[in-house]
């Protein structure tokens, strides 16, 4: 190809190079970037943790608190957590400029207070989750503040009493 021909094509086509970072990036409507958890909406139910394919989301209880951690460095940006969240607390943003010099900077945490079993004192669900459950279906406090283990024991005790009473 002659130089004149190349010049002609170049002039006809014009500039194709993107000027990023000096112009906005090419973000399509379908693009999914980092997810964002709204701490005022999240219950700490753990549904997103169960569904996250690479375990980028983790919910770890420690003492009186449970920490929902989002490690964007392992996220595959599938958006499944946003789909499954019952509280609609997760939003898929278009953020992609996430580079960091340390792994700690790639983590974000939401800290939940844990409610305790009224019988054995073991940490059960998060307080936010209890509040939500009580709001949507009012149940007596003696049920919702009892951990599954104590509930089972209590039920077994009651059943034994019944059976014992019946045999006499």
């Amino acid at each position: 190809m002659s130089v004149a021909k190349i010049l002609e094509i170049a002039l006809r086509t014009g500039r194709v190079t993107r000027r990023y970072p000096y112009e906005p990036p090419l973000l399509t409507p379908e693009f999914r970037g980092a997810v964002k958890i709204d701490p005022s909406k999240c219950w700490g139910c753990g549904a997103c943790v169960k569904v996250c394919p690479p375990n980028a989301l983790t919910l770890k209880p420690a003492g009186k608190e449970a920490t929902l951690e989002y490690f964007v460095g392992r996220c595959v940006f599938c958006g499944m957590c946003a789909e499954v969240c019952p509280a609609k607390a997760i939003e898929v943003t278009k953020e992609f400029e996430l580079s960091a010099t340390s792994l700690e900077d790639l983590k974000s945490r939401v800290i939940h207070r844990l409610a305790r079993c009224s019988i054995c004192g073991a940490p059960i669900w998060t307080e936010a989750e209890l509040r939500t459950v009580v709001k949507s279906s009012p149940i007596a406090e003696e049920y919702y503040l009892v951990c599954p283990k104590c509930r089972k024991e209590r039920f077994a005790k009651a059943a034994m009493l019944r059976l014992g009473a019946g045999s006499e």
Binding site: V72, R74, T101, I111
Partner: protein, 169 residues
């Protein structure tokens, strides 16, 4: 062990700022990140605007573009490649795989990301001077450019650790 002080790194960064030679190292990625690296090198994104140029040997490289979760098969070669690089060793870790293992974070056949590799490198006496992690799956070409600018110290880091307590009422 040869120590390169932070002063030297600043000096080296100043020296390479407008001419960065990169070497592309795939440690067993799914190839999507590698295609995005090629994408960033095409005239469409044209990283030669920043003087970034692909080279064919780690001995010529200033920066390694690192992709993949480090499979066991690739580990000895990866260590050898990074060892062949001259100091200061600057590494741009691309993709969820490179950073935290991605969806292969706990499989038997991978190391699960750069953190473990860094330990192995240290055991082998290979020091890495600066690492920038670029999340994405795959990483966008723009994200690679942004990560590179962060590595060179031309832009400010946006990500930072966030810790919030869920609402009380």
């Amino acid at each position: 062990m040869l120590e390169v002080s932070s002063v030297n790194i600043a000096k080296a960064l100043r020296a390479i700022k407008k001419s960065v030679w990169v070497y592309h190292l795939n440690s067993g990625s799914c190839n999507a990140c590698d295609i995005e690296v090629l994408d960033a090198l095409t005239p469409y994104f044209d990283v030669e605007r920043f003087g970034i140029k692909l080279v064919g040997s780690p001995r010529h490289a200033d920066v390694i573009l690192f992709t993949g979760p480090v499979t066991r098969e690739s580990l000895p070669k990866v260590v050898k490649t990074i060892k062949a690089m001259p100091r200061p060793r600057l590494i741009l870790v691309l993709g969820s795989c490179g950073i935290g293992g991605g969806i292969w974070w706990d499989t038997y056949s991978t190391l699960g990301g750069f953190k473990k590799l860094e330990e192995i490198l240290r055991e082998n006496g290979v020091e890495v001077d600066r690492v920038v992690y670029v999340p994405g799956c795959p990483v966008r070409p723009e994200a690679i450019i942004y990560g590179m600018l962060l590595l060179l110290g031309l832009v400010e880091q946006k990500s930072k650790r966030v810790e919030v307590v869920a609402s009380e009422g």
